[in-house]
C-alpha cells in the first residue's frame, strides 16, 4: 500500500490544488461523498477501492451508485462543499462513537467511510 498517495481532499481549495486529485472546477456532490477524509490520508486509491469493493460484496443491497449517494448525501446535496464534507466527517466520528463500524478488506471503518469507499470504487471502476 502506498501511504497517502490518495491525499486529495480538503475543505481548503488551496491545499486541494496542490494534490493529485484536485479538480479544476467544483467537484460534484457524489465525488465529494466518495472521499473518506481521514482514511485517504492513510490509504492509496487502490486500497480505498479495495475496501469499497469489499464493502459492496458484504452489503450487496448497497452495491449501487444511486443508493450509496443517497445514503451518504441524503438531503445535503445542494449544500456548500465544505459543509457537506464536515457533515460526512462528523458522521464518520458519530459512527465510531455509536459502534456503527464495519471491517472491509480488513480495515475497521465507520459505516459512512466504508460507503464512501464503496462509492469511490464504483465511480472509479
Amino acid at each position: 500500500m502506498q501511504r497517502r498517495a490518495f491525499i486529495h481532499l480538503s475543505t481548503y481549495t488551496a491545499l486541494a490544488l496542490t494534490l493529485p486529485f484536485a479538480e479544476g472546477c467544483s467537484p460534484s456532490p457524489e465525488t465529494i461523498a466518495s472521499r473518506p477524509f481521514l482514511f485517504s490520508k492513510l490509504a492509496d486509491k487502490k486500497t480505498i477501492a479495495e475496501a469499497g469493493a469489499a464493502y459492496r460484496k458484504q452489503f450487496p443491497k448497497e452495491n449501487d451508485k444511486t443508493i450509496l449517494s443517497k445514503l451518504l448525501i441524503g438531503a445535503n446535496a445542494s449544500q456548500d462543499k465544505s459543509v457537506m464534507e464536515k457533515q460526512l466527517n462528523d458522521s464518520v466520528l458519530d459512527d465510531f462513537k455509536t459502534g456503527k463500524t464495519v471491517a472491509a478488506a480488513g480495515w475497521v471503518l465507520s459505516v459512512t467511510e466504508a460507503r464512501q469507499c464503496a462509492l469511490y470504487s464504483i465511480l472509479n471502476a
Binding site: 465510531f96 480495515w107 475497521v108 465507520s110
Partner: protein, 508 residues
C-alpha cells in the same frame, strides 16, 4: 549445601521434611521461603549448574495438533530452569481472570486476584522488579516524554508490564541456596518415579536417577512438584505403580487443559502522523515498564471474549521479522543467531520521531480445553522415562476473540480520530477458524494440573495440593485454571510463595 548426586554411593537414601522436585523459578522461590527454618529441605535438580545437551534431551517429545516449538528447546533443564533464557516480562493477572465467565468453558479459579496481591508484591523482590505498581499513570509520571494513545480506558486501557533484568535464578540464587544450612540441593537428581502408598493417598518416596548410572531414593513428609507444566504431568502420569492411570489422575485430568499464550501478529495500526508512543516501546535490558493495549473487563463480558493484549512494533521493523515459531528452532546456535537479529531490529525501531504505522501483536489466553493435553509416548528417554507428547489444540473462541479485540481497538482509535486499524488476512473471514502457519505460542506452559475445588474439574485444590493425595503439592503455572494474558512467571512465583506460607502454616 550442595551435593552432586552422581558422586553419592549408588542406592543412597536421602531424607528430609520437604522435598521440592525441580529448581526453576518455582522450586527456588519455594526453597528461599524455607531458608533458615527448622525444616530440612531437599531440593532436587535434574541437571547441573550449566546448560548441557544431554540434559535437554530428556525434555524431547513429540508435538501434534497446532504447530509448536521443539519441546527440548522450550524449557531449560539445569539449576535456575527456564529463567536461564526468559525475557523478564512481568504483569499480574487481572481480577476477571479469576472469575467464572460463562462464555469461557471451565473458567474460574477457587481464589481471587485479591488473594494473590500480597504475594505478587513479595514475588517482585525475587524477580528484581520495581514497586508493585501497575497503573499507567504511575509510570507516565516517571517520565514526561512518555506518550500514549488517549483511548477510552473503559474500553481499551493501558495494561502495564514491568521487566525483570531478567533475573537468572541460577546465577542470582545459587550461592544463597548452596550456603543455606537447611537446604540440601542435589544436582543431577532426575526424579523418574513417585511412589505412593497402596491406596495412592500418601507419597512415600521418589526415585532419582542420573547419567552416572546411580539410582537414589528420597523420602520426605511432603513433596512439591516444581518441574514445569509438561514435566509435572509427565512424572505424575508415568508414576503408575499404585494408580494405573498415574498419580492424582483419578478423574483423567492430569496433563489435560494444557494452555499456552497464543502469540501472533494480528493487525496494523495506521496513524495520520508519526508518533513515538513511548509508553508501548520496549528495549531489552533498559525498559523498566511498558504498556500493551488491553480490553476492559466490561468489554470482555459484553463481547464474550478471552483476555488478550496488543503490543505495538513499528511496522517497518515488524514486517522484516520472521515469526517466533520459525525463528525458534531446535538448533541452539541458529536459535541464538535468529534471536539476536530480532533484538537488533527492535532497537532500531526506537526512533524519537516516532512511526506512523505499527504492527499489533496479540498475546492472549486460550480457553481451558481438555483436548489440549500432555500424554506419554511409548518411546523412553535415556533414563527410562516415557517421553511426553504435547497435543496443543486451539478453539474458535481464541480466533473470534482476537478478531473482536482488533475491531474494538479500531473503533476506539476511530473515536479519537488518530488513525485506522487493519486486520490481517487470516482474521477477515468470520467463518474461517483455521490458523495461519506463523501461529505460535509464548513458550508459556500452563494448566496441566489445573486448580479447582472440584476434583472432577481440577488436579489440585486452592492450596495447590493434589486432590486425594495428602502430601503432594504442585508449584508453578501447571496450577493455573486459566492463563490470562500476561507472561506467567510473576504469577507462578506469587502462587509459589503463597504455597510456602500454606505449607508453613500446616507445619505449625
Amino acid at each position: 549445601m550442595h551435593i552432586d548426586a552422581r558422586e553419592l554411593p549408588n542406592n543412597s537414601l536421602i531424607e528430609g521434611d520437604l522435598c521440592i522436585i525441580g529448581a526453576g523459578a518455582a522450586g527456588i522461590s519455594l526453597a528461599l521461603e524455607f531458608m533458615n527454618t527448622s525444616s530440612k529441605l531437599i531440593l532436587l535438580e535434574g541437571g547441573g549448574f550449566e546448560y548441557e545437551s544431554q540434559m535437554q534431551d530428556l525434555y524431547k517429545g513429540k508435538t501434534t495438533g497446532q504447530r509448536y516449538f521443539p519441546l527440548e528447546s522450550a524449557r531449560l533443564h539445569y539449576f535456575g530452569g527456564t529463567t536461564g533464557h526468559w525475557a523478564g516480562f512481568c504483569s499480574p493477572l487481572d481480577p476477571i481472570d479469576f472469575e467464572k465467565r460463562d462464555w469461557v468453558p471451565l473458567s474460574g479459579w477457587p481464589i481471587k486476584r485479591a488473594d494473590l496481591d500480597p504475594y505478587y508484591a513479595r514475588a517482585h523482590k525475587n524477580l528484581d522488579l520495581g514497586p508493585y505498581e501497575y497503573l499507567d499513570s504511575y509510570w507516565m509520571a516517571q517520565d514526561p516524554k512518555i506518550d500514549s494513545l488517549p483511548l477510552d480506558h473503559s474500553a481499551v486501557y493501558n495494561k502495564m508490564w514491568q521487566f525483570s533484568p531478567p533475573t537468572r535464578f541460577g546465577e542470582k540464587y545459587k550461592e544463597t541456596i548452596v550456603k543455606a544450612p537447611n537446604i540440601h540441593l542435589y544436582t543431577y537428581a532426575n526424579v523418574t518415579n513417585i511412589d505412593a502408598n497402596e491406596h495412592a493417598s500418601t507419597i512415600q518416596q521418589v526415585t532419582v536417577k542420573n547419567f552416572a548410572g546411580k539410582t537414589h531414593t528420597v523420602k520426605a513428609k511432603k513433596f512439591v512438584l516444581a518441574c514445569c507444566s509438561i514435566q509435572n504431568a509427565r512424572l505424575l502420569l508415568a508414576s503408575n505403580k499404585q494408580a494405573k492411570q498415574g498419580l492424582g489422575n483419578d478423574n483423567d485430568l492430569v496433563g489435560r487443559h494444557f494452555m499456552e499464550h497464543l502469540e501472533i501478529k494480528s493487525a496494523e495500526l495506521w496513524l495520520t502522523k508519526p508518533e513515538a508512543l513511548k509508553l508501548y516501546a520496549w528495549e531489552s535490558g533498559k525498559t523498566k515498564a511498558r504498556a500493551e493495549l488491553a480490553i476492559s473487563a466490561e468489554k470482555q463480558r459484553e463481547l464474550k471474549i478471552l483476555n488478550g493484549t496488543a503490543s505495538l512494533t513499528p511496522l517497518e521493523v515488524a514486517r522484516k521479522q520472521p515469526a517466533f515459531i520459525d525463528m525458534w528452532t531446535a538448533d541452539t546456535a541458529q536459535r541464538k543467531k535468529n534471536m539476536s537479529k530480532f533484538d537488533v531490529a527492535e532497537k532500531k525501531s526506537l526512533q524519537e520521531s516516532g512511526h506512523d504505522s505499527y504492527q499489533l501483536f496479540t498475546r492472549i489466553e486460550q480457553a481451558p480445553n481438555p483436548d489440549s493435553r500432555i500424554t506419554l509416548d511409548t518411546e523412553t528417554d535415556a533414563l527410562g522415562m516415557p517421553r511426553a507428547i504435547l497435543h496443543w489444540v486451539l478453539t474458535p473462541l481464541e480466533k473470534r476473540s482476537i478478531r473482536e479485540i482488533y475491531k474494538l481497538i479500531g473503533k476506539e482509535l476511530g473515536i479519537i480520530d488518530k488513525g485506522r486499524v487493519r486486520l490481517l488476512e487470516y482474521l477477515r473471514d468470520e467463518n474461517d477458524n483455521t490458523w495461519p502457519e506463523f501461529t505460535g505460542g509464548g513458550w508459556h506452559h500452563m494448566g496441566t494440573t489445573r486448580m479447582s475445588d472440584n476434583p472432577k474439574q481440577g488436579v489440585v485444590d486452592a492450596n495447590c495440593k493434589v486432590h486425594g493425595i495428602n502430601n503432594l503439592f504442585v508449584a508453578g503455572a501447571a496450577c493455573y485454571a486459566t492463563a490470562g494474558a500476561p507472561n506467567p512467571t510473576l504469577t507462578l512465583v506469587a502462587l509459589t510463595i503463597r504455597l510456602a506460607d500454606h505449607l508453613k502454616q500446616v507445619n505449625a
